[in-house]
Symmetry: none
DNA sequence: GATGAATGAGTCTTCATTCAT
DNA sequence: TATGAATGAAGACTCATTCAT
C-alpha cells in the first residue's frame, strides 16, 4: 500500500496485505538465495512471484524496506527456533553446541532463508558495528567468566563461528546434497575443541614439549 | 576479443600490453577495495587509472576477464608469499599455523588486494566448485594421514579456516585499526586446537566424563 | 465514466455525491498549494482527504476532471467575490481598481485557492484560448469606449494585469509575510497610471518634448 | 562525457563535445517551449534530437545540469543582447524602454528560448529568493534616486514587468502570429506611464479631483 | 458507494559494451 | 594503441488508472 497513513484505525493490515507481503518476502529470499544479492532485482523477485514489479512497490516503500523485512522475518524465525534450545542448556559448552546445532537445523528447514540473510549481511556491511558485541559473543564471554572456556578473544571466536555457519549455509544452498548432520557434528566438535579449557591445557603441554625438544 | 588475435603473433603480448594490463588490474583492485564491488564500475576504475574507459575494453575482453585477472594475480601473489612458508614447515600443525600466519601477513602487506578478492568472491559466488579440493584441504588431509591431525572432515575444516580468514580480512578493511597480530594468534590457536590429535583425545575424555555423571 | 450514468437518473447527483466531490476538490486545492502541481499526486490528495485513492477515481472521471473542477470552483468563488464589487463601481478606473483590490482580497482570504489555480494554469498552459476575450479584457475595452481609458491594447493590458496578479499570488504563497495591502496599492496605482487618459496625455507631452530637444 | 575529471590538460572540451551539448540544449529548449516543462522528459528531448536518451546522460551529469545549462545559455545570450542596449541609454526611462524593447527583440529572434526559460523559472520556484534584488529592480531603484521615476515599490514593479514579458513570451510561442512589435509598444508605454514622475503627478491630481466630487 | 489491490506506462539514472577515428 | 562518443539494457521508483469485491 502506497500511503503511509496506513489506517490508524483498529484493524491494522488486512489479511491479504499480510499474505502478499509474506509472499513477496519469500520470493525475495528465494531469489537472493538463488541468484545472489547483486542479481536479485525487483524484476527478478516479481517474476518469481508471478506478479508485476510494481506490486512490490505497492506493498513496500522500496527495496530497502523489503530487504529489511527479509532480515527481520528470518532473524525472528531463527531466533525463535534457536534461543530456546540454547537457553535450555546448562553449560556454556552445551550452549555453544546447541547454538551451532540449532543453527544447522534451522538451515535444514530454511536453507534459502539462511543463505539469503547471509548474502544480505555480507553486502550491507555498512553497519559493521565492530563496536557492539553480538549475543553470541556475550555468551562466549560468559563461558569464560564461568571458567568453562579457555582464554580467547570472544570477538574473533564469534566471527569465526558465524563465518563458518554462513559458509556452510551458502554451500548448502548451492549443493543441497550436502550432509548437514555431518557438518553440524564437524562444527560442534571444531568449536568445542577450540573453546574448552582442558583441550587448551593439554595442547599447551604439547606445544611446550614441542618447543623443548625440536 | 582482440587480444586473441594479438596472441597469434610470434612474440606474445608486447611489453606495453603487459604493463597496461597490470596497471589496470592494480587500479581495479584499488577501486574495488575502496568502493566495494558494486560501486566499482569500469568508469570508476578507469578514472583512478587516469585512462579512458575504453582502454579497459581494449585490453580485456570484458569486465569479467578483468575481474578474473584480479583474482588470478592476487591469488598468485598470495600463493607466492604463503606456500614457501607453509612448505618450509615440517609438521602439519606447523604448516597450518604458517598458512594462517602468512595469510595474515599477506593481509597486512596487501590489505586492499585481499579486500578486493574478498569482495569479488562474495559477489561472484556462482562457481562454487564443491567438487574439487583446495590445496588447503589437501594439506589438512595429509596431516590426517600422517596421524598428526585428529579425524575431521578436511572439507568442512578448510571451509571454516577460509571463512574465518576472509571474515578477518573484511573486518580489517572496514577497520584498519584491527590488531592483525592478535587475530593471527587467536586463529592459529583456534585451529590448532581444532585439529590436533591430543586436544581431541583429551576433550573426548572430558565429554565421556560429562556423559557419565550429568 | 460512471458519473454520467448516474446523472441520467431523475434527481441528479445525490447530496453525498456533491459533498464528496467538494471535499475532494478542497483537498486537491490544499495539496496543490502546499506541494506544487508536480508533487500533487492523487495519492497525496487522497491522503490529505483521509480517503482512499480510488474514491477520487470514483467521483471523478480522472485527474483531469478533478483539476478542471478545481479551476471551476475557484473561479466561481473568485468571481462571486469580485464581480459584485467591480460592478458596484461607476467609473472604469474604479472598476479596474476594484478588480485588482478584490483580487488581492480574495488572495488574502483564500491564499491556497489562488495558489492552486496559479499552479494549475502554469502547468496546463495547453489551452491558450487566445481567440476569446476574458471578462477583464472586455471591461478594459469598455473603459476605452467610454473615453475614460487611453488607447491601448486591451488584450495586452489584460495579460499584464493578470500576470502581475498571478505573480503576486505566487510570491504570497511562497512568502506569506508579503504585505498584500502594499502590493494592492502598488498595482492599483500602476495600472491606474497605465490606463488612464490624462496621465497618458501628460506623458505624451513629455515624450514629445524629449524628442524635440534631445 | 561521464567522467568528471574532464581533462585537466590543456584542451578543454572537444569541438564535437561542445556541439553535442549545444545541440542537446537547443532540443531541450525546443521541447520545453513546445510541451511545457512538466512534459519535457529526457525521452522527449532525445527524440527531438534524434539521439538516444543516454546520450544526454553522457554529455550532462543529469537532467538538472541540462536545465541549468539551458538557463545559463539563454540568460547569457539574452544579457548579451539586452544590457548593451540598456546601458546605452542615458535616462532611466530610456533604459526601461530599452529593457522591454530589447527583451521583445530577443523574443522575436529566440521565442522558444524565452518561453523555455520562463517555464523553467516558473517550475523551479524553489529559489524564489525574495531577499535578493534583480538587476532590473536595481535599475528601477536607481531611476527613483535620480528623481526620474515616481515613488513606487521597485520590487513589485520589477515583478510586474517580468511577469508581463514572460506572459507575452508564452503567448508568442503558443501563437507565433502574435504581433511582437505591437506588444513591445504596448508594454513600453504601459510601464513608461506606470513609472514616470509627471504622469503620476497628473494622475494624482485627477485622483484628488475625483475624490473631491464623486 | 467505497476501497484495497494490482498494473503498465513512464521517470531518471547507471553501466558495460561497441565503434569510428 | 588509444579514446571520445554513443548506445541499449536494466536498475529503482512514481503514478494514474482499472477492477473485483
Amino acid at each position: 500500500m502506497q500511503s503511509k497513513t496506513r489506517m490508524i484505525g483498529r484493524d491494522g493490515p488486512s489479511f491479504i496485505e499480510v499474505a502478499r507481503r509474506a509472499q513477496i518476502v519469500e520470493c525475495a529470499i528465494e531469489t537472493i538465495a538463488s541468484l545472489g544479492y547483486a542479481q536479485a532485482s525487483l524484476n527478478q523477485i516479481a517474476e518469481r512471484a508471478g506478479i508485476s514489479k510494481s506490486v512490490i512497490s505497492y506493498h513496500f516503500a522500496g527495496k530497502d524496506e523489503l530487504i529489511d523485512q527479509v532480515l527481520e522475518d528470518v532473524s525472528a524465525a531463527g531466533a525463535a527456533l534457536m534461543w530456546p534450545r540454547v537457553q535450555a542448556e546448562e553449560t556454556s559448552a552445551g550452549m555453544l553446541r546447541a547454538y551451532i546445532q540449532s543453527h544447522m537445523d534451522f538451515m535444514r528447514t530454511h536453507p534459502r532463508h539462511v543463505a539469503a540473510v547471509s548474502e544480505i549481511l555480507l553486502h550491507n556491511r555498512t553497519q559493521f558495528d565492530d563496536g557492539q558485541a553480538t549475543p553470541l559473543e556475550e555468551r562466549l564471554r560468559e563461558g569464560q567468566r564461568d571458567g568453562e572456556f579457555r582464554a580467547f578473544s570472544p570477538r574473533v571466536m564469534a566471527w569465526s563461528i558465524r563465518a563458518a555457519l554462513d559458509e556452510v549455509a551458502r554451500r548448502f544452498v548451492a549443493n543441497p546434497g550436502l550432509g548437514l548432520d555431518d557438518c553440524a557434528r564437524e562444527l560442534t566438535t571444531l568449536f568445542d575443541l577450540a573453546t574448552n579449557r582442558s583441550a587448551a591445557a593439554e595442547t599447551q603441554v604439547a606445544h611446550d614439549r614441542s618447543r623443548d625438544c625440536p
